[in-house]
């Protein structure tokens, strides 16, 4: 009797779990299917390389793609050096049980949970107004840099952790300074972890709207320099969906482009993560 009941429960739960998995697959197919169906026929080379017309209802998204790329570049340029440096300090130089290091880690944890709208407020106050950068790629990029910093630092730390300790001890035995050993040996060996962090950071930054809205502006013009405002792809989708009458058709197209870009990025990070990093390094 007990065996029968157990068999029944087992079968039931198996069904439950299959149902859960399939419902997720269905939702995914539904959403992505909708976007592909409505956006597919609008995407061609022209769409990707010309400027928007009629406030975005026609034409392409070239300035927006360029703007988004520049935002990514600025945010990476601002966050990678200082992020890697911090991670190196926390993993390599800080003495164990160091209160300073502990404080920095806690502070980074907090940073990783700040809602994006608060970043938007902060960026607007500090970069656009206090530092007089106005609505610009620089303001947007620096704000995004703050957002991706925790992810980057964590990933770099993981990458460093995976480097065999013998690299350090061997270099020390040879009389090489820690700094040189880091630069020439250890960091290159930690690159896979750093790369993963970069990719995750880019993924998050590209999907961001609230922070970019208040800091990088919303101009659809092709930017000429870092002080120019730009519209990121995510923000463009929002504007097309909500602000421009009749803009929904183009919103589907832009959504498809953004989803495809992000899909490529997340797939790449997934592959890399499975290969080199075993522990959890991401927060969201």
């Amino acid at each position: 009797m007990r065996v029968c009941r157990q068999k029944f429960t087992e079968a039931l739960m198996t069904g439950v779990f299959y149902a859960a998995a399939f419902s997720i697959l269905i939702v995914f197919a539904w959403i992505v299917g909708d976007i592909v169906r409505h956006g597919f026929d609008q995407i061609n080379w022209e769409y990707l390389t010309t400027a928007p017309e009629r406030a975005g209802r026609a034409g392409g998204i070239a300035p927006i793609l360029v703007g988004t790329l520049l935002l990514m570049l600025v945010s990476l340029a601002a966050s990678v050096p200082i992020g890697v440096a911090s991670a190196v300090y926390l993993s390599v130089y800080a003495p164990p049980q160091d209160r300073f290091a502990h404080g920095v880690r806690r502070s980074l944890d907090v940073l990783s949970g700040v809602p994006s709208i608060v970043f938007g407020l902060f960026g607007y106050l500090v970069f656009c107004q206090a530092l007089h950068m106005g609505w610009s790629i620089l303001s947007g990029g620096l704000t995004l840099a703050c957002m991706i910093l925790p992810m980057l630092i964590r990933a770099t730390e993981e990458g460093l952790r995976s480097v065999p300790g013998s690299y350090r001890t061997g270099s020390a035995a040879l009389g090489i300074s820690t700094g040189s050993a880091l630069w020439r040996l250890i960091l290159p060996a930690a690159m896979p972890g750093i790369r993963v962090g970069l990719i995750l950071g880019i993924g998050r930054a590209m999907a961001e709207t609230a922070a970019v809205m208040f800091t990088a502006g919303g101009s659809i013009r092709m930017p000429d320099g870092l002080m120019d405002p730009v519209r990121s792809l995510a923000y463009h989708i929002y504007i097309l969906a909500i602000e421009i009458p009749g803009g929904q058709r183009r919103a589907y197209a832009a959504s498809l482009v953004l989803v495809l870009l992000l899909l490529m990025i997340t797939l790449a990070s997934n592959v890399m993560m499975q290969r080199f990093v075993r522990k959890r390094i991401f927060v969201h």
Binding site: A51, E53, R54, A55, R57, L73, A77, C128, Q129, G134, W135, G217, G218, S219, I220, R221, D224, G225, L226, M227, D228, P229, I239, A241, I242, E243, I244, P245, G246, G247, Q248, R249
Partner: protein, 279 residues
Amino acid sequence: MRKIVALGIVVVGVGSVALADNVNRLTVAGSSTVQPLAEVAAQAYEKKHPDVRIDVQGGGSAVGISSVRSGLSDIGIVSRPLHAVNEADLTATPIARDGLAIIVHASNPLKNITRQQVVDIYTGAITNWKQLGWLDKRIVVVNKEEGRATRELFEKYFHLKGKFVKSAVIIGPNGQAIITVAGNPQAVAYVSIGSAAVAEQEGTKIHRVFLDGIEASVAHVKDGTYGLSRTLNMVTRSRPSGLAKSYLDFILGPEGQKLVLEQEFVPLSTDLKTKKIQK
């Protein structure tokens, strides 16, 4: 590899400093109603003056005012008259006129609505479409957020300040009102005639309703018979000069006013009027 990256960064940095030429740049920010017009006008202007760069930003009329004051923008777009009390320090240049239309879903047979009916709907006195001769369905009232110029005008015209029904769906820009109504047969909203007309052209499932027997069209705003209308202003800190003046002159000129018509707004006469306080 590293050297290339470093070089690239230097080039971009130097390039941006070199190209950040403030003399030929204009930042325009403000009303989302007028944003499409400002954008096509900016593009047309740039075609004629290739060395100029005009960036247009939305955010609402309030952003227009605050950004001009703080220097974040050179011209603010405001889809209402300036407040005599606390906006007297700014200069408004009217560039077009626009009306506010009541819109409903395409399947809604409502053709005309009276002033009293509008008041009743928006204060919650009428709550069901059957009271207006349609199906027994709840009216979904769509209202704009408080700070929006469109709402201000609507409030004033219908004397609704403080009396809005609480359960209304709140939206921001015109586009959001339009898409809400298009997706909901029971909804009613008020939007700029320009936005509504363009949306209808694009096939969006809404239609404008006659107000007190007058059609909510560009023609009727122009000849004054449709009373629910407003002036669209470009606001500057002081009398427009230099690049700002040139851009405004362009909009007020024949090409610009043609663009105004294309965006379904009402063109003004072609002489440039700049007043300190816009009534």
